[in-house]
Subunit: 400 residues, 3 copies
Amino acid sequence: MAVSSSLFTSSLQGSMVTPKTLKCCTEFKCSPSNLSFQQSRHTKSMHLTHLGLLPSRKLSIWETDGFSSKDRIQCRAFEVEKAPSFSVGKKFQLDDIIEAQQFDRDTLSAIFEVAHEMEKIEKNSTGSQILKGYLMATLFYEPSTRTRLSFESAMKRLGGEVLTTENAREFSSAAKGETLEDTIRTVEGYSDIIVMRHFESGAARRAAATASIPVINAGDGPGQHPSQALLDVYTIEREVGKLDGIKVGLVGDLANGRTVRSLAYLLTKYQDVKIYFVSPDMVKMKDDIKDYLTSKGVEWEESADLKEVASNCDVVYQTRIQKERFGERIDIYEAARGKYIVDQDVLDVMQKHAVVMHPLPRLDEITVDVDRDPRAAYFRQAKNGLYIRMALLKLLLVGW
Amino acid sequence: MAVSSSLFTSSLQGSMVTPKTLKCCTEFKCSPSNLSFQQSRHTKSMHLTHLGLLPSRKLSIWETDGFSSKDRIQCRAFEVEKAPSFSVGKKFQLDDIIEAQQFDRDTLSAIFEVAHEMEKIEKNSTGSQILKGYLMATLFYEPSTRTRLSFESAMKRLGGEVLTTENAREFSSAAKGETLEDTIRTVEGYSDIIVMRHFESGAARRAAATASIPVINAGDGPGQHPSQALLDVYTIEREVGKLDGIKVGLVGDLANGRTVRSLAYLLTKYQDVKIYFVSPDMVKMKDDIKDYLTSKGVEWEESADLKEVASNCDVVYQTRIQKERFGERIDIYEAARGKYIVDQDVLDVMQKHAVVMHPLPRLDEITVDVDRDPRAAYFRQAKNGLYIRMALLKLLLVGW
Amino acid sequence: MAVSSSLFTSSLQGSMVTPKTLKCCTEFKCSPSNLSFQQSRHTKSMHLTHLGLLPSRKLSIWETDGFSSKDRIQCRAFEVEKAPSFSVGKKFQLDDIIEAQQFDRDTLSAIFEVAHEMEKIEKNSTGSQILKGYLMATLFYEPSTRTRLSFESAMKRLGGEVLTTENAREFSSAAKGETLEDTIRTVEGYSDIIVMRHFESGAARRAAATASIPVINAGDGPGQHPSQALLDVYTIEREVGKLDGIKVGLVGDLANGRTVRSLAYLLTKYQDVKIYFVSPDMVKMKDDIKDYLTSKGVEWEESADLKEVASNCDVVYQTRIQKERFGERIDIYEAARGKYIVDQDVLDVMQKHAVVMHPLPRLDEITVDVDRDPRAAYFRQAKNGLYIRMALLKLLLVGW
């Protein structure tokens, strides 16, 4: 995993051997007619699959909202004997969401299955109570309104409650200087799960190592933003209908965009993928990712012809040229920015089933007239972020 | 409507011809014994009155909180045959709340009837669940704590949930530059209704044109703040007991205050209204409103004698002189500010049934000793803002 | 109470003679088979104990969450005849929480009993509905994320809802200049209880005098922060098992820390208490508190030997040296800061049952290795803040 580690930070495998949830005691009462599971607030992420008790397949009970979490778990426990056995293991332990590398293909597939169920729940006008009684703290050390609202909507759509701060730096303000670890130890006393945005790479990992409750990384500096990576892959699956065999054009700022780097990384999990890089010279995809793709047998090529790439691809993934990376060289920024625009001309050469994606916000790298085309998938992609976050919250708090 | 358009911005009539709610599919199942209406989350503002199915009168069922929204709608559908027929039409379509001009007399009356019901709901200690499962996003591009808390209280009093941001400018921050339209397309994916405060006149109209969910304008720059206009008229009706035939003294900064301009505009909907303008010369009511009143046959006069006006009026509507409009001419501001003060002397000449109103915040244009007089209606007026906002949320999300 | 007044601000006794809650009308319906109590939203803090109807002892019904507040009150009313009579009086009226001095020993004991019940409720995964339908406004004139999240978590753990502002200064921004009293009159219309943080000493008292709903002081400038004082005493009771006869070492910045001053004050309520002051010369405990302790017969002494004190005490209460008090004399600050550190050496001399407390945030006045020792009580102390705040909200909103 050396390559993986150098690409991002390091692997989570070590910490996952001792699942966070096993720190807490749980009480099982078994009788011939009744297998019940008593869950306390502090066994939030108890993984029944890990204990070999439960299959990880989605149960239809998720859509009946009249049950408390405890009832729900009991009901699932009842189904143990009826359900097909399922190989369970490390991959199904979701204690924290820290980085894209922690997911293997099976875990991605299982998360996407839950996310798909969440689409139905979200559309139901009566709302869900799956997470009723649970409290999420959004601990944002820098504002990211888009990401915060998406997580908070996810929590509330599932009946949970939210504590919000976009002012988390105040915890450790100049005169005070509290460590992140101390802040986490305080906040974990007030909530059941922490969604953290931080300005420093690695902060999420430190928080997760400290917290006895689950932590979700909602972006840590130039580092990771794993829920964005998940929603991108999920969107491809939902829009194109498959992940094996797809052709993806990554366009724009490939040097600085963490979304395209994470997406390229995750696509190595699938078969027969082909990736095209289309970017101004200033912001080409870096060698670490290219080398990693090669090492995993993923075909890739660089191209300067957006139309030709677009005509070949299932997905054109456009990104914003990040002005802030160019310093005072506004002239170079402007040249880079105007070079590859997705407009009607590009749409005209794209295949009928292909889609245009973008992590948002966009400036003019996709022209507004493209919005009207059904292949413009970027607002659906943003909405998929809601489903992915609903799934993650559900999985971390009440399990598969 | 040319006059109306020049007074404010423009009319909503065009967009109201195609109600937002009809974009969504709905499913009706009818049988002899059962007329049920299946509502999905995306048919929030479906107007049964528009479809000729339902009367717009308030049904007593609103006060029984054991029902889900869907049940509620079904129950109302059941009552169709029993209820008196009601003329329905464009005026009862509330898709968005953008500006004071969108309301005619009948709509005002219907909204006030709902607001009055909300008073009872708010006083009930067990709370209401009318909007359970609904999620409101307060998208504030500039802080307005008073308005925001009022809307959020309204939503929560009805059992709904809230996503908050007073940091909405962050969506379109320097380096990013996302359009308002793109932001709206993202936020509408996370919520069921958007309450927006913006610094630019016309922003609310743009947001409403983009959104497939209802938008409420909570103030857009120097433009409109329609829920304030509604609560002012509602307060007059509640305090004085009538709107036809009332005499209203508008006092203070009549040039810059959008509340007095909207109030004057809305009062033209009623019969035999007389308006007095009492203001320092620097901040007189502008000619557009005067001309509009004249064109609508509303009697008005300017006066420099606050006491004489107060002795004649049913309502003395005092406003704050807006210091920020005077730039460096603090001397002129101070003179204007001290000229017309509502104090005990003014109260002494007012009629017993008359009231003092003020949109708040106040400085010293109403002296604190006035607060103790039962005719001091301004804090009740602020509270009426809650009822009006409860009514608007209810009407936009689950209909009449 | 002259000493008390000079120590802090002044006593609440005057205002407590006319309980806030008796302003509101209530309706009692009694029949042979049923004693029911109709509570409106505006009789939130009606004190049945004050009326002689109810005992203040904790009833087990608190842990059954299926009841509405109204049901709960009715149930408690039913138990009147069965319950032992209890002397009720002024001390059990909790209309507002303004300052540490308002609590006598019996009230502290009663609050702690409720807080202890709250521990069980918080651990229950299904959550509580005791405060369902109630709305708390967190009106923060300056940010204090730690305190705010603690109160908001407390409210939500009990099923209540929250309106948040950390931007309350905006109410009275430059051009506007609204008084605190007017702001309170507005906010009380939107909520059922106000938790206020203010930058001016005495602001909470002014707010409480204005509001017809309960006000909790969450810190007013250099003045009071009573919920912190309560959680400190509660933590001692929970950790050491007693309050009479304890020995407490107050360490660090005793001149500026309001927590140590409040704690010393409250400890005078108990028997045979001994207090040690251990601090750099620059920041010694002031004479007012020393004199007050003496006047109450509480033994105290100053010491420069932290280890000796630690070996004697039940509680070592460490505090942060407040850098901001030293202005430009960083050299003096650094000397003061390094003088008394709680580390493994200090732990080594402490008794087995003794604990280390700290109001947080800490810098390095307690070394990180201490965290692993079971006697490190400061994160449990922070968590106790949650239970105390749950108890206060419960007591102010639905009574004992």
